[in-house]
Amino acid sequence: MSVAEARITRLAVERSTRGEQIRELAFRAALLFSLGFGFLALAVLLIDVLLDGASLISYDFLTKFPSQIFPERSGISSALQGTLYLMVLTAVFIVPVGLATAVYLEEYADRDRWWNRLIEVNIQNLAAVPSIVYGILGLTFIVRGALDLGAVLLAGSLTLGLLVLPVVIVVAREAIRAVPSSIREGSLALGATHWQTIWKQTLPGALPGIATGVILALSRAIGETAPLILVGAIAFVPFNPDPNPAEGQYSAIPITILSSVSNPDSDVQALASGAIIVLMAILLVMNGGAVYLRNRYEQKW
């Protein structure tokens, strides 16, 4: 390298550092601003809700029934258990159906066939359909119409299940695809059948990803209000859900929150904060579970 060339390079570096420095700073400020914006909004919301509702949280709040006359003695027992029961039933519905669909699409479906591509595109589109539409669907085909279940818990969880099924399918497919084909080929080469390979190799490998997806899907379902209103979840239910999900009426925490917030009595309105805290606690536990499952069982191939 000649002396002249070296000088030019150094000049270029110096010039760029000055410009870069400013840009670097601006970029970093923009990043911090974005982070701060999201964080601040969340923090304000959390603090506001905690200030309003933390004093409400007690054993009684979780085990008593709603009350208009004595808001201070009111509880969310029926809503809490309704929500938990809804989630369990939704999981029971979406895990086998979602998993089977994902296995079919990943392992069996021939992508060259137009109907398989049609199914794929439809599933991706379904994930973006507004939840109220699922509510209308649930009301027309599950509560009334074809299934005619009535406004019962089973109908609610089937509707929520339909709502989050596309998410489960998409996530489960990703998880199955992440299992390297060398594993499958090895299994097949050793004489295992297609089915044995899926059941003994592919699915166990994909399970942590699938479990995480299911929990995240349920976290979406747990906060849904609009479809539940349509399929007949009710705000004031003075009894816990019937063990038989096809029997009796039920409530859910989002419905309680909505109903409390629109009550003229400010004491009843305050109950919403308590219910929000409980809902967030459940969400936190669920998301924590998802993180745990992922970290504990994730496989590095």
Partner: protein, 315 residues
Amino acid sequence: MRKWLALAVTAVMALGVVACGSDDEESNSGGGGGSGGDLSGNIRIDGSSTVQPFAQAAAELFMGENPGVKITVGGAGTGDGFERFCRGETQISDASRPIEDDEVELCKKEGVDFEEVQVASDGITVFTNPGLEVKCLTTAQLEKIFAPNSTVSNLSEVGPQLPDAELALFSPGAESGTFDFFTEQINGEEGVQRSKGIQTSADDNVIVTGVSGEEGGLGYAGFSFYEQNQDKLNAVSVDGGSGCVEPTSETIQSGEYKPLARPIFMYPSAKALKQPEVKAFMEFALENHQEIAEAANIVPMSEQQATESQSKVSG
């Protein structure tokens, strides 16, 4: 397999919580031991969210005396409530306006007969931000503000003696019985109202917050929402042709607060009224309507109206 086990444990834990809850339920329903509570059965109530607090308070008091009866109360809105009611999905429908012709038609088609029973009163209250001093508006002035083609943006446009203030308008949304009633009384046709320069919300508390938070805030909602927020709002008297009348429990109950005072209803189906627990509940609600209305922050009806309602239920 450990992974399957982890999943199974999660599911079992979730189920466990639900199962524990079911035990509570049995001990609760058995432990009432009140007086004369040999009635049993389920009563499903749905409909107007304005009536919901009343129905809920009535249900609580009634269930205190009759632990065998389970009453649920929803707040789907007057219209959706009637739709469920006419399909036989509920026994009693709450309504903040009388049933409409097409709803009567639907009920008839499905073979559901019903009684219209007034349970309390309400007066739609027009209120402003305390900083916007308005004593009284005539119905014509209100129409000028809320009419479908209205472009009024400053209060002085509707009357020369009114303050010169930019308006921030708030109102309930189209699904609400309050909206239906207000638009019919003020704009002359149900369901029509200006859509520009106005913020609507299904939640009346949002209207209260909006009006109390904006300098030129003006809006309307059920009387109880004003009553619970008197310190933050200024109620506007309404002149329906015979002088300005202030919205108070008395003027609403007597109907003097024209034309925005309205009865609110429960519609039990004729079939349900034949069930002893439904009949007992309706009679209970009417007998104790004063106390229930107070607990629900709703204006009670007059004794004369109560007697009339009682004759419908018992007859």
